[in-house]
C-alpha cells in the first residue's frame, strides 16, 4: 500500500480489504457477544461484507453477475431475518432469556 499523498482514485483491492476487515469484525462479534440478537446482527454484517466483495469483482470484470449474486444474498438475508427473529421470539417466550450461554439444552 503506497503511503504519501492520496491518489485520485483507489484500486479495487482497497475495497476488497475493506470487505475483509468488515467480515472479520462480523466474525469477532459473532464469537464475542452473548446477546442472541447481537450475534444475529453480526451475521448480517458478514453478509454485507461479502456483498461488497461481489460488487467489487463485478466492477473489475465489467460484468453484471456480481450484482445479481448480491441481490440474491439480500433476498436470503431478508428470509433469514424473518425466520431467525421468529425463533428468537419463541426462545424468549419459553425461556425468558436472550443469553446464548443459557440456551444449552443440546449440550447435555
Amino acid at each position: 500500500m503506497p503511503l504519501g499523498p492520496l491518489p485520485a482514485a483507489v484500486p479495487p483491492s482497497w475495497y476488497l480489504t475493506l470487505s475483509a476487515i468488515l467480515f472479520a469484525l462480523g466474525v469477532l462479534g459473532f464469537l464475542l457477544r452473548r446477546n442472541i440478537i447481537t450475534v444475529f446482527m453480526s451475521i448480517e454484517l458478514m453478509l454485507n461484507a461479502v456483498n461488497l466483495s461481489f460488487i467489487t469483482f463485478s466492477y473489475m470484470l465489467k460484468r453484471v453477475d456480481g450484482h445479481i449474486f448480491s441481490f440474491f444474498v439480500m433476498v436470503v438475508a431478508a428470509a433469514e431475518a424473518a425466520v431467525g427473529l421468529a425463533i428468537i421470539l419463541t426462545v424468549f417466550k419459553n425461556r425468558q432469556t436472550l443469553e446464548i450461554d443459557e440456551v444449552s439444552t443440546l449440550k447435555n
Binding site: 482514485a9 472479520a24 440478537i37
Partner: protein
Amino acid sequence: MDALLFMIFAAIAVICGINLVVQTHPISSALSLVGVMGALAALYLLLGGEFIAAAQLVVYAGAIMVLFVFVIMLLNAGTEKKLTVRPLGKYLGAPLLLLFFGMMAYLIQRILPESSPVVFGAFQSGTAAEIGKSLFTVYLLPFEVTSVLILIAILGAIVLARKEVD
C-alpha cells in the same frame, strides 16, 4: 475525489462495525449496523451499482433493520452481562487482531492482479434495466427458486410465531 469519498465511507463503515462489536446494548449495535449499511450503499454507488445501492438502503437499512429494532423493543432487551476475558486474550487479542488485519491487507494487495483504479462512472451496467435483463434471462431459475424460498420463510415465521413450541 473518488479516493476521498472511499476514505470517508470506509472509515464510517469500519468505525460503525467496531462500534457494533463493542457496544453492550443491542439497540446501539443495531444503529451501528444501519451506519455500516448506509456507508456500504455509498460505496456501491461509487462502484457503479445504483440498483444495488438503492436495494441496500430499502431492503437492508429499511426493512431488515426495522425488524431487528422491533424485536429488540418487543423483548425489552437490556445490556448484556460483562464478558469474562482471560488475561491472555485481554493483552494479546488486540495486537494479534491488528497483525491479522495487516497480513490480510498485504495478501490481498499481493495476490490481486494489477488493475486500474476505481473511477465513478466507469461501470455503467449496474442499472435496474441491465440487472432485470440478466435476472429474467440467465438467472431465471434461481430467481423462481428464490420465490419458493421466501414462501417457505413466511410460512415458517408464521408457524413459529403463533404456536406454542415446547
